[in-house]
């Protein structure tokens, strides 16, 4: 552990650290453009100059210089300041002075650092260079004249996203960053290069010329468009969500965010349910809350408890599912299901349905077997962790399922259940094996038990290491299972007239036509999708940015998002709707505040008390989940997500996501289903 002195502060850093990292450890900020914690070191912007004693008397770039024992570093000498001023002057030679019309203005590294090291005028009288803008698809807007060639975007796309589309072509004055052959970026994480770009060369296309960063109200929240539960910041101005940015959480999303989670927000303004509707004479008609509740109360009054059922959708918060569960119990019904896709999951034991190794734990694994899942589409941020495990520690990865490019080399073991044996062999000899079983496999009976068996025999289930993982695609799923939103009739049994009253809480991802014609359908949700079209009563709810909600990600990590805007029109927060309905039907629920709902959550399952924090755990009980691994039918696993960009009611309503599908994914052949 080298010990060095930086500006008089003694600091000890791990071997292999650079001077810049040591300075960070000492609490000294060094300006930089090209250096980034999570990318390889390029050392090409030269902004991080420092002076080091007993080296040649010249400024040294601290991001590339290894920290060594006894080194004495100065970060604020006249030589350092002049060096950085010189670098800044060179960077500004070709950088346009268009900050007033640049979307990066106000959150620009170059702008900020020019305040410290820039001159008040330019000595450069010649023509500035102009670079043609690149077309990178519907998400990333380019103004390449602003590019300072830090190459962060190139390194991110190649190293983290694993889709080497970007490069620097030509050289010197003619160097340009781009794809060379024009094409849209094909990574699901492509928009992170907008955050990485230290200048305004790469900005958000949908957000272009919309707002200034200082006008926005920033609200912490949790992403619900996949089951990773990426931490996000929702930026709003007035009633409108203008953008979503990732928030740092080393255990979940690091600082990355999938494109869908970032850019589906224009879907929040379209196809919204903003007032209650009641079906009269076969036609949906706008109604008041009173009329809608009356219609429901009348119907429920005549219906026996076991003829009522409820299905929770993929985007629901735990509070509303709890309220619905309690309401159903009060009505005498236990027909609850959160598995609208029919996944063969049970909630008897928590580690039978969560991602037990945890996302950060992926980095410790040395062999990973993916069964019936395409993590690149189902959870791109999690996929980046798997890639990291491969890139940093050489983890080997085997896949059973459809053959696709996961951005890292994999051993493709087979397309279906016949390859399970090969999967078991694949994990032989691994010290920290992981089994990831996805929704593509869990569609089928007994596969949960079979996957658990593989993990168990591979030595993945020890008191120190829990290598059995279920990768969910629905943000609400683990929370619903934790709550016990799973009893009585299954979702499949509730269809085709299995119940007389069906309460859909944001459930759209199943074939709604299978609902029996005589079934009275109540749809509570925020988007007019298939569920609302079939409904007899529509109760307008709130989308995830419009309510305070608790979500449990695929790891079983309880996280909380805050309300960033109010729901549109007469729409209300979902748990409040159910609370109001309960009073209307004469079964008033015993909570009136969100705090009381959350107290009830903790009462139902103590895991809800631990918000944000999830300790690593091993497997203390290797009992397999119910099911007979020997009875696995011979099936091929089919992908659960066809279009990454359109998986739920919000992203289906988003024109930006539709543009992504059009730009990136070839038009699907007309399928005869």
């Amino acid at each position: 552990m080298p010990k060095l002195t930086i500006d008089g502060i003694e600091v000890e850093v791990p071997p292999g650290s650079t001077v810049l990292q040591a300075a960070e450890a000492a609490g000294i900020e060094i300006p930089r453009f090209c250096y980034h914690d999570r990318l390889s070191i390029a050392g090409n912007c030269r902004m991080c100059l420092v002076e080091i004693e007993k080296t040649p008397p010249k400024p040294i770039s601290s991001c590339t210089y290894p920290a060594a024992e006894g080194m004495i570093v100065h970060t604020d000498t006249p030589m350092v300041r002049n060096g950085r001023r010189g670098v800044m002057e060179f960077l500004l030679i070709n950088h346009p002075l268009d900050c007033p019309i640049c979307d990066q203005g106000g959150e620009c590294d170059l702008q900020d650092q020019a305040m410290g090291y820039g001159m008040d005028h330019s000595r450069y009288a010649e023509n500035k260079r102009a670079v043609k803008d690149k077309e990178l698809g519907p998400l990333v807007k380019t103004v390449m004249t602003r590019c300072i060639h830090c190459t962060r975007c190139i390194r991110f796309i190649s190293e983290v996203a694993g889709v080497p589309d970007l490069g620097a072509t030509s050289r010197g004055e003619h160097m340009e960053v781009g794809t060379y052959v024009e094409k849209a970026l094909s990574s699901e994480l492509s928009a992170n290069i907008i955050d990485l770009c230290p200048v305004g060369a790469l900005t958000s296309k949908p957000y272009a010329f919309t707002a200034r960063s200082w006008e926005l109200t920033k609200t912490d929240s949790v992403d619900v468009l996949d089951a990773v539960g990426a931490n996000i910041r929702v930026d709003t101005r007035g009633p409108e969500v203008l953008r979503i940015l990732p928030r740092l959480n080393e255990d979940v999303n690091e600082e990355w965010l999938g494109d869908k989670s970032r850019f589906s927000i224009d879907g929040l303004k379209r196809r919204r349910l903003d007032k209650p509707w009641v079906r009269k004479d076969g036609k949906l008609q706008a109604a008041t809350w009173q009329q809608a509740f009356d219609a429901i109360a009348t119907k429920l009054h005549d219906t026996k408890g076991d003829r009522i059922g409820a299905i929770a959708g993929d985007l629901c918060d735990a509070e509303s599912m709890l309220a619905l569960k309690d309401l159903m119990a009060a009505l005498g019904s236990f027909n609850l299901d959160c598995r609208q896709d029919g996944a063969k999951l049970t909630n008897a034991r928590r580690d039978h349905y969560t991602f037990n190794t945890q996302i950060a734990g992926i980095e410790d694994a040395d062999a990973i077997l993916i069964i019936g899942s395409n993590p690149r589409r189902e959870a791109p941020v999690l996929n980046a962790r798997i890639r990291k495990a491969w890139a940093n520690s050489g983890a080997k990865i085997g896949v059973i399922g459809a053959e696709t490019d996961l951005t890292y080399p994999v051993t493709h073991l087979g397309t279906g259940t016949t390859a399970l044996g090969a999967g078991e062999t694949f994990l032989n000899g691994a010290k920290k094996p992981m089994v990831i079983v996805g929704q593509g496999a869990l569609k089928h009976e007994n596969l949960l038990a079979a996957a658990w068996g593989i993990a168990s025999r591979a030595g993945a289930l020890t008191p120190e290491w829990h290598g059995f993982n279920v990768l969910h695609t629905a943000a609400a799923r683990v929370g619903a299972l934790d709550l016990g939103f799973l009893s009585g009739k299954t979702a499949g049994e509730m269809l085709n007239g299995g119940v007389d009253v069906l309460y859909l809480l944001g459930a759209d991802e199943f074939n709604i036509a299978k609902t029996g014609p005589a079934t009275f359908v109540i749809y509570q949700g925020h988007h007019g999708d298939s569920g609302a079209a079939r409904a007899d009563v529509i109760l307008p709810g709130a989308a995830y940015t419009e309510k305070s909600g608790t979500y449990v990600n695929t790891e079983g990590r309880v996280q909380r998002g805050f309300m960033a805007t109010h729901p549109p029109g007469e729409a209300r927060e979902d748990w409040k709707i159910i609370r109001a309905l309960s009073a209307h039907t004469g079964h008033a629920l015993p909570y009136d505040t969100i705090a009381a709902v959350r107290a009830r959550l903790e009462q139902v399952n103590p895991v809800f008390a631990n918000v944000g924090f999830l300790p690593r755990f091993g497997c203390s009980d290797t009992t397999a989940p119910a099911g007979d691994p020997a009875a696995v039918a011979n099936v091929n696993f089919t992908p659960v997500i066809v279009h990454y960009h359109q998986t739920d009611t919000i992203s289906r309503a988003s024109p930006t996501m539709a543009a992504c599908v059009a730009a990136l994914e070839p038009a699907p052949a007309m399928a005869a289903e």
């Binding site: 080497p164 589309d165 030509s170 050289r171 060379y180």
Partner: protein
């Protein structure tokens, strides 16, 4: 990109494939990307053989990427970085004129003027109307001792002056390239007019 057509296909012919195999074999397994520069030369020479114009088309770079297991963009980066790879079609003969200080002091301006006069080319990187010549200004080609230099494709014509330049171009036009090397009969890079040292054996040798 510019106003020329990229070929729709490119495939290595037998000679090229053999040459790339030979180059790749020099590097340890898994490091075949090291062969990217020689492989791009192979593409450029094959284009010369097949079309008479030595350049590297897009499909050629893609073929190199595929052969060496590199993402296409990594090949584009290398190919566009080096000036020796022509990213657009050129004339049959590539006149590469060194104008760096030693050649310039020895009269490279005359050579440039002579080339322009003989070919009718106005600017750099332009091709003559008859499609025979492309003129490129290059940095030092490393033959300063015999400056000024006119490089035609891979060959050096040394100790040039205006007349000799006109002669070379006229000969090329007829398809009879003159012998390469010094144009004043100098032996390799020995002093002009014969040796000036070691003229006699030392007496007590």
């Amino acid at each position: 990109m510019a106003d020329f057509e990229q070929p729709a296909h490119f495939a290595f012919d037998a000679d090229s494939a053999a040459e790339i195999d030979r180059v790749v074999a020099k590097y340890p397994p898994g490091r075949q990307a090291s062969a990217v520069i020689p492989a791009l030369y192979v593409v450029q020479r094959q284009m010369k053989r097949q079309t008479g114009s030595a350049w590297v088309p897009l499909k050629g770079m893609d073929a190199v990427g595929e052969r060496l297991g590199m993402p296409p963009i990594r090949v584009y980066e290398v190919a566009t970085f080096y000036f020796m790879f022509n990213m657009a079609p050129i004339g049959k003969y590539h006149l590469q004129l060194c104008t760096t200080t030693p050649c310039w002091l020895r009269g490279s301006d005359d050579i440039v003027a002579a080339c322009r006069e003989a070919t009718g080319i106005k600017g750099w990187k332009e091709t003559s109307a008859d499609g025979l010549f492309t003129m490129t200004e290059v940095e030092c080609v490393g033959a300063c001792v015999n400056a000024p230099i006119l490089q035609v494709d891979d060959d050096f014509y040394e100790d040039m002056d205006r007349e000799k330049t006109l002669l070379v171009i006229a000969a090329l036009r007829e398809g009879k390239p003159p012998a390469v090397g010094s144009m004043i009969g100098r032996q390799r890079s020995a002093p002009e007019g014969g040796p000036t040292t070691l003229l006699f054996a030392p007496e007590n040798g």
